[in-house]
């Protein structure tokens, strides 16, 4: 066994300190959300609250404005992630096969990563498709993420041809090969892409801001942005509206908005690391 040297101790101590510095803002937010506003403002360096209180959380749920955005975000995250994963896997598998024109199709797809239509054409298009002010506007336009598609396609291209061939010899058609062999053996990349999509849908903000006006269909991130942005200086200076959210209510909102997606990571971590490496070498 390697002997622990003084250098190791210094390095580990340094890493622990850096780790604590990194974690502190999150801890500060969490603890701040569990304090009363009066205690929070009178505390300089927050480690533990004197008295844990859920009053900020109670206030948020009592206000009620978070309930509908939360429902919307949960719905689009579940359905969006499933649909996106399915669509990306189908497309990536198809594009991993050898056929004429494959590179042209791929070039068109990659082109969408570089050139965007712009906000106004996007809005007009969604409006004409009847997507504006519906929850579908959060899902349909974002079904396939090109970056995720490339990762998955690369992973499928690396899939051993021998396994596919033996499956075909055993009587499997292409669907059988895909569903019975390729997908089960590509769990790491699927889980990684699933996580990417889940985070993407959970963080839906711009479509909610620009394409949805119905408060019942707004997303959590939009709701959080409103609360954090609060009333602007210019607006406040010229008004008497004192809709001011206190800092610990803002913090409680941050926790409600980030915690659910954050707790998913540890469960998927072992797949995630493997999956993130897939496609890293060959493009």
């Amino acid at each position: 066994m390697k002997k622990t040297t003084a250098g190791d101790v210094i390095i580990y101590t340094l890493f622990v300190i850096i780790g604590l510095i990194m974690l502190y803002p999150f801890w500060y937010t969490l603890v701040g959300s569990l304090m009363t506003y009066n205690e929070f403002i009178n505390t300089v360096f927050v480690i533990f609250p004197k008295k844990i209180t859920l009053e900020s959380y109670i206030h948020i749920f009592k206000m009620g404005s978070i309930i509908e955005p939360m429902k919307t975000t949960i719905i689009i995250t579940i359905f969006g992630t499933i649909l996106s994963l399915a669509m990306t896997a189908y497309t990536a598998y198809g594009l991993s096969m050898q056929f004429k024109g494959r590179n042209w199709i791929m070039a068109f797809i990659v082109f969408t990563m570089i050139v965007k239509g712009g906000l106004i054409p996007e809005f007009v298009l969604y409006k004409n498709l009847g997507l504006v002010n519906t929850r579908l506007v959060y899902i349909i336009p974002f079904l396939i993420n090109t970056f995720n598609l490339i990762i998955m396609r690369t992973s499928f291209m690396e899939f051993p041809v021998e396994i596919k061939e033996s499956a075909r010899i055993d009587g499997c058609n292409e669907f059988g090969v895909f569903f019975r062999f390729v997908l089960p053996l590509s769990k790491p990349v699927l889980v990684t892409i699933l996580l990417f999509y889940a985070v993407q849908y959970w963080n839906t903000f711009f479509p909610s801001l620009f394409f949805v006006t119905d408060p019942e269909k707004k997303t959590l991130q939009d709701n959080l942005y409103r609360i954090l942005a609060n009333i602007s200086d210019a607006e406040a200076a010229h008004s008497t509206t004192s809709v001011v959210f206190s800092e610990n209510i803002k913090m409680a909102n941050v926790i409600i908005t980030t915690l659910p997606i954050l707790v998913v990571y540890p469960f998927l971590q072992r797949y995630f690391i493997k999956g993130a490496m897939v496609g890293a070498i060959k493009g």
């Binding site: 106004i120 504006v132 801001l209 210019a234």
Partner: protein
């Protein structure tokens, strides 16, 4: 292959241009129709608003909250004008983007706000493209007396076009800041209300030297913008960021000798530790925190209930014997009166798009007219009997859930913020300290001479000149530059950055 791609690109470009050209005339017809109809109307008789068909009316505004779908006030207003009224709220700093998107896509809300006089560009474009109706014409045609009365408010002419008002500006009155003070310190040290800036300096000095809470308190804390804005008016006698005529020539406030005196005053305070040395880092929350923990004697913040309660609540936790007060603004030493910045007196305004048909235009303005009426003002500031409260034995018993959802934070309903925010808010304020400050500010307010300055050149020059000014302000206040010896360097850089062109723009605008 190259030829095919080139042909495709040319085809797409041509198709796009054709689509754009085809769209323009459609959007301008509404205004022309309205004009013709108004001319045909008899000047002595008012037309009747057609209320027969149920309409959908969307109001677009900005603010940090959303409107509950079962909002009682909107339902009530809807019943008044036979419409389903909804309100779309967009956060302030994304509002212009969201509005431009709706305008570009041609999906106008039936009533919407623009951020005048801060953003005159959007207003000018709407006006130029005839996208908004002349509200004056409709007020005359349908006899909307409350709208007509609104157009007689002070300084409102700044928003008038030659043929009437295309915007209904939201009258806010003067900018409502306050000088919050640790009243218990004032009483303990036997200090008096400072009358001028020299006395104010002494006032701060005595509290800093005594430091009653032992927290190494600073004298005056604030965010830098509010500090300059308020004191520039005290020293110069004109509204902050305004222009004044000197020897027949328009001159910007920052180049006045009195402005220089103000910077010298702040430099003195800064040097003596009477001005918060974190002035350039402060957020409102930092200011609240300092005031609530004995680290500052005076705080310059918005004179509103929300801001005051964020200081007072924690202050009483920190020290149950502490007291928060508000002192009157001092006059500049040597000046004969107190002058407090009033700004334009207006913040934002509402428009009705010309794309709407005649019935909808009239219906929307009928709703606006009702909101401006005495009854409408009571509804949006206090609620509706039977919906938001019930009267039991002569006492109001609030329907808590409904009232709290529609009147967030006990503030007037947000539909009232469209055009009469200040009036409706102040009528329900009960804190005597805030009310007294408000009365004092209104009494001593000076409003801007130049309101709604706009041109492409102004848009281009304003941020450049502001950057130069802010840079030198910081240098002068913190002592990095000497006001007496380096002032000319600042003036030279200001001139080099386009100040003479800005003067020309102001001359042009004011002579129009």
């Amino acid at each position: 292959m190259k030829k095919v791609i080139a042909f495709l690109l040319v085809f797409i470009l041509a198709a796009s241009l054709t689509a754009c050209v085809a769209k323009v005339p459609q959007e301008t017809t509404g205004s022309q129709t309205a004009g013709t109809e108004t001319q045909n109307a008899n000047a002595n008789e008012t037309a009747k608003v057609d209320m027969s068909k149920r309409l959908k009316i969307e109001i677009m505004s900005f603010g940090p909250v959303t409107i509950d779908p079962d909002d009682g006030v909107l339902k009530y207003l809807g019943e008044k004008i036979n419409a389903d009224v909804s309100m779309t709220m967009v956060i302030y700093d994304k509002y212009t983007d969201a509005l431009n998107l709706r305008i570009a896509a041609g999906t106008y809300p039936e009533l919407f706000k623009t951020q005048i006089p801060g953003d005159m560009v959007t207003y000018s474009s709407l006006l130029l493209d005839k996208q908004i109706i002349n509200i004056t014409e409709y007020a005359d045609k349908y006899g909307f007396e409350n709208i007509k009365k609104h157009f007689t408010l002070p300084n409102i002419e700044a928003f008038k076009e030659p043929d009437g008002y295309y915007v209904l500006p939201n009258y806010t009155g003067p900018v409502g800041n306050a000088l919050y003070v640790r009243q218990d310190w004032v009483e303990k040290l036997g200090l008096k209300q400072p009358e001028d800036t020299d006395q104010f300096k002494e006032f701060l000095r005595k509290m800093v030297e005594a430091d009653p809470d032992g927290q190494k308190a600073t004298g005056l804390t604030s965010a830098v913008g509010g500090l300059i804005s308020n004191f520039s008016s005290i020293f110069t006698g004109i509204s902050s960021g305004d222009w004044t005529k000197i020897d027949g020539k328009w001159t910007y406030i920052a180049l006045l000798d009195e402005y220089k005196e103000m910077l010298a005053y702040f430099a003195g305070l800064f040097k003596e530790g009477l001005l918060d040395n974190e002035l350039y880092l402060n957020t409102p929350n930092e200011v609240f925190k300092k005031m609530a923990t004995g680290k500052a004697a005076v705080a310059l913040e918005n004179g509103l209930r929300g801001q005051m309660s964020q200081m007072e609540g924690p202050l009483l936790t920190y020290n149950p014997n502490a007291k928060l007060g508000i002192i009157n603004w001092p006059k500049a030493t040597g000046r004969d009166k107190v002058t407090i910045t009033g700004g334009a007196g207006y913040f934002s305004g509402v428009h009705v798009p010309s794309k709407l048909d005649e019935t909808t235009r009239a219906r929307v303005l009928a709703m606006v007219d009702y909101i401006l009426s005495e009854e409408g003002q009571i509804i949006i500031s206090e609620g509706i009997e039977g919906v938001h409260y019930n009267t039991v034995n002569g006492q109001r018993v609030y329907v808590k859930d409904r009232y709290e959802k529609d009147f967030i934070g006990g503030e007037p309903h947000l539909v009232g913020a469209l055009m009469t925010r200040a009036a409706t808010s102040w009528r329900i304020e009960t804190d005597e300290r805030l009310l007294s400050n408000r009365r004092y500010v209104e009494e001593h307010a000076v409003f801007s001479n130049v309101i709604g300055l706009r041109s492409d050149k102004v848009t281009e020059l304003t941020p450049v000149l502001n950057d130069v000014l802010e840079k030198w302000q910081m240098k002068f206040i913190t002592g990095e530059a000497n006001i007496e010896t380096d002032w000319n360097l600042f003036v030279e850089e200001y001139n080099r950055s386009g100040y003479p062109e800005m003067v020309q723009e102001v001359e042009k605008f004011m002579n129009k």
